[in-house]
Amino acid sequence: MKILCDRTQLQEAVGVVSSVVPTKSPKPILHNLLLRVDDEGITLFATDLEMAAKTRLDAVKVSRKGLLLLPAREASALLRELSDPTVTMDSTDQRCRIESGGGSFVLLGEDPSQFPEEIKLVSNKRVELPAGRLLRMIQESAFAAAREETRYAINGVLFDLAAGCLRLVATDGRRLALSYQNIDAAQAEFKVVVPLRALTTLSRAIPEGSKDPLQIAVGDKQIEFTFGKTQLISQLLECRFPDYEGVVPKAADTSVEIQKAVLESALRKTAILCSDDLRMVKFEVGDQALRITAESSARGRADVSVDVNVKGAGGSINFNPDYILEALRVCQLDQVRLDMSDDSMPAKFTLGESFTYVVMPISGT
């Protein structure tokens, strides 16, 4: 193959697909990117066998077609360092010569026929929504997923499409985040768990607030996200996701409305005096006031009272402050609401118009 193309565009395309390349794999061929050059342009493809990314670059002058494997790390580092606006790539016998601005580099590739084949997803379950909206939903849910890599944990986010509403749900068993979006046109239904890694990779490819359409297609074992010329396809997690609807409390004894900034600041201050091993703050809801306290025998005591709107009986309840702070970090509302009952019942935070967060309290025995 031989091509001439814009360096910045190529660098971006390489960057997008490189994000799925494994840093260390016992199968070294996966450290490469596959470049397929046809008459109109280049298709770039990479995979770690759990997920795959594909993107297309059209603004290319093709002199000779062909297939090529490029080592991903070296290729993207090199493109970043080059300064000329254009770059020429010329390959023979799995060797690729890159020329740009007077420099000449040879990258040694491997046999393209040994590279895993692209997966073609067959599916009629498709749904479309603005890319920026999906990004927001991922941000509002994924943080609550379990991080520890054990076989018991669900390291993924539930995508539940039913009755024209797409819900993204994540939980680690102690708290649960739920973000939803009505999609009127959607006829399809699916309920699948997507690995966190795929969502992190996808998030990186979507600019904040983008209005461009993003398509989700769900097959038996895979999910595919198509955004512009880029496709990300990932294996689904085969696990039973807990019944989240039963978990979200329908009623509460006490409702508290509070400024998000006030709550965040109060929690940050009190959390300083939690002990390292036992992260716990106490919420006491009284007459139009919320008192947050923390105590550690080694460090001391924090006591913060703030004005709030209270409906209901009031009461006290203990939380891990980190759980609440993590959610507030992705909350865009000025005023949030807490619905709580007692320390054996989940408490519900309303953190956005379509963003609900449920936290299980800490109880004494």
């Binding site: 379990a146 520890e148 054990t150 018991y152 944990a153 939980t171 068993g173 102690r174 708290r175 649960l176 807990p242 019944d243 978990v247 002990s275 390292d276 091993d277 036992l278 992260r279 716990m280 550690s296 025998s297 080694a298 203990n318 891990n320 320390d343 054996s344 989940p346 449920v358 299980m360 309290p361 800490i362 109880s363 004494g364 025995t365």
Partner: protein, 608 residues
């Protein structure tokens, strides 16, 4: 076509279970000799026992008319009715050993009872039993097994080299000998005496004669009684720990036996004192009424089952733990008893005379302990004989510092409480201090780790138990046994913050986890508790919690390579001086190495 097997074939098959290698023959024969009341037992083996094994005892001997039955299957004098199985006090009882051995070798017995004038002799060659012939012989029995496995070539091929088989026999005799200090045992291999164990040795002496002289100085005698149950024996200092579990010797009513929960309980007691991958050394016997233990669960009797295994495990744990924590305040803080596998030069001193620390000059006789000073007493018969037989029932309890009823033994003194405040940091890692007994070398990281760990633990103990409730109960599928155990201990677990309940016939649900372990996956936590089978539930859960403090402490402690100011060192030593267990870091690594005045003087030849 289906046929009944000929009795010889049946016996050969049965032999496969009982007689695996020469050592198993020796074991059966020596146990028989002991059951027959033999006091002096001599074992001779040639070529690792493959060519010839001879066991001579001075026991009761056979009645001449019983001899033909000796090689018959399921013939025994040790029990007659089924009920006898409930209180077995002999080592053998199944009546299979001689029949099995006779079917795979050329065996002969010569025996004379003390009340007869003449002895008798009988041969059994590959299962064909001959006629008893009168012969002259001393009282007692003499069994000779030649050409083991000559008629079962398949098994013969699986024998290891004669050297290996001999070593196995030696090990086996040593293990048997530790249970019976009243026996006089000799092992002769290929004409050379390799083991000589005179009757009346103390357990410490015998342990050392069997497994190495240098072990003797690190053995602590222990003895506790818990109602009808008694635990007695010696345990090794943690620094004698080995990389394998060969010297974990557990005896039940004088019989060596394994029981997982008991072994586990002992290891747990050592846990804080040992590094990972090390196994303690000990010889402990559990004496309990015979109806409290089932010995007939394993063809080679290698395993037993206790009626109340948790209670036995608890008693063992308590005995060992108390002894380790209360290690007598020996002047040389034991820290210098370098692990035997370490080359001596590692002590910091060049590899010089062996008597530097090892006191090899005086033989291996350790400081007088209760075990060594107690007069040997010969007692026989039944489970009521004192375990290890080195002590009579009437002996004054005060003679033994570890006596059960007495107050807890004095704790090993805290070396930091008695240091004089002068110190030096070297290599940004070690602190040299002057203590009343000599020179202390401290690992700053290990010591600080222990300080932080104790602080976290104290903080945790002082506050109420808190539970991180789970949003959705975690359902864990379990074996019926695991589930039954969990239901039984659910209350104990709840008291430490783990809330579990029945979910379905085969599953349990976790509703809440201790808030300090909120980040652990609940199912993993539960499985960790189940994995440790045998010990009590609450301590296990506490251990899981402590484990978290270990890792927090490790991260919070000063590292090797951190240069400390004098004020910091003083503060660290001050904090260490109030510790209850200052000698090890929470992972079991030592915090301090002591060179006593005496050791320094000997090294510099100021004193001989």
């Amino acid at each position: 076509m289906i046929r009944s097997l000929a009795p010889e074939v049946v016996n050969q098959i049965a032999a496969g279970e009982v007689v695996e290698r020469p050592a198993s023959v020796v074991k059966e024969l020596v146990e028989n000799a002991i059951d027959a009341g033999g006091r002096r037992i001599r074992v001779e083996v040639d070529a690792g026992g493959c060519e010839r094994i001879r066991v001579i005892d001075d026991g009761d001997g056979f009645l001449p008319e019983d001899l033909p039955l000796a090689f018959a299957s399921h013939a025994t004098s040790k029990l007659s009715v089924l009920q006898d199985l409930d209180h077995i006090a002999t080592l053998g009882f199944r009546g299979e050993a001689l029949a099995s051995i006779g079917s795979v070798a050329r065996a002969s017995i010569r025996s004379r009872r003390h009340d007869r004038d003449a002895g008798a002799e009988i041969h059994c060659d590959g299962g064909r039993i001959g006629e008893p012939q009168p012969c002259g012989c001393p009282t007692g029995s003499q069994l000779e097994i030649r050409d083991l496995f000559y008629n079962t070539p398949a098994r013969r091929r699986f024998l290891k080299s004669p050297g290996t088989e001999k070593a196995r026999i030696q090990e086996l005799l040593a293990e048997l000998a530790l249970a019976r200090l009243d026996l006089d045992l000799t092992l002769v291999a290929d004409g050379r005496e390799v083991l000589r164990l005179p009757a009346g040795q103390s357990l410490t002496e015998r342990f050392a004669s069997c497994f190495g002289r240098e072990l003797a100085r690190g053995l602590l005698p222990v003895e506790r009684a818990f109602g009808e149950l008694r635990v007695e024996g010696v345990i090794g200092e943690p620094d004698l720990a080995r990389r394998d579990s060969k010297l974990e010797l557990l005896y039940v009513n004088g019989r060596q036996a394994r029981e997982n929960s008991a072994v586990h309980a002992i290891r747990q007691a050592y846990r804080e004192f040992l590094m990972g991958g090390r196994f303690p050394i000990y010889a402990l016997t559990v004496a309990l009424p015979p109806d409290q233990v089932d010995v007939n669960v394993h063809p080679r009797k290698a395993e037993v089952r206790f009626l109340e295994s948790r209670k036995v495990a608890g008693c063992l744990h308590e005995t060992v733990r108390a002894a380790l924590q209360g290690r007598a305040a020996a002047a040389s803080a034991g820290g210098v008893a370098l692990a035997p596998e370490l080359p001596r030069a590692r002590s910091g001193f060049p590899d010089l005379p062996r008597d530097l620390f090892g006191r090899a000059d005086g033989g291996a006789v350790p400081e007088p302990t209760a075990a060594t000073s107690a007069p040997p007493v010969v007692v026989r018969d039944g489970a009521d004989r004192p375990p290890f037989g080195h002590k009579s029932a009437t002996q004054d309890p005060a003679a033994n510092p570890d006596q059960n009823a007495g107050p807890a033994p004095a704790a090993r003194p805290n070396p930091f409480a008695r240091a004089n405040g002068r110190f030096l940091q070297v290599h940004d890692l070690y602190l040299l201090l002057e203590g009343p007994d000599g020179l202390l070398i401290v690992d700053q990281h290990a010591l600080h780790e222990r300080v932080v760990y104790e602080r976290l633990r104290a903080e945790h103990r002082a506050r109420a138990v808190t539970v991180q409730q789970l949003l959705v109960p975690t359902v864990v599928e379990l074996h019926p046994g695991e589930k039954a155990w969990l239901l039984e201990v659910a209350e104990d677990l709840a008291a430490e913050g783990l809330q579990v309940g029945e979910f379905s016939p085969s599953a349990m649900a976790i509703y809440g986890v201790p808030a300090v372990l909120a980040k652990t996956a609940p199912e993993r936590l539960l499985r960790a508790l189940l994995a440790d089978d045998g010990a009590d539930a609450r301590p296990r859960l506490r251990e899981q919690i402590s484990e978290r403090f270990h890792s927090m402490a490790c991260r919070a402690a000063v590292m090797g390579g951190d240069r400390l100011t004098d004020e910091e060192i003083a503060a660290l030593l001050q904090a260490a001086s109030t510790l209850e267990h200052p000698h090890n870091c929470p992972h079991g690594r030592p915090t301090v190495l002591t060179f006593t005045h005496g050791e320094l003087e000997r090294y510099f030849r100021r004193r001989c």
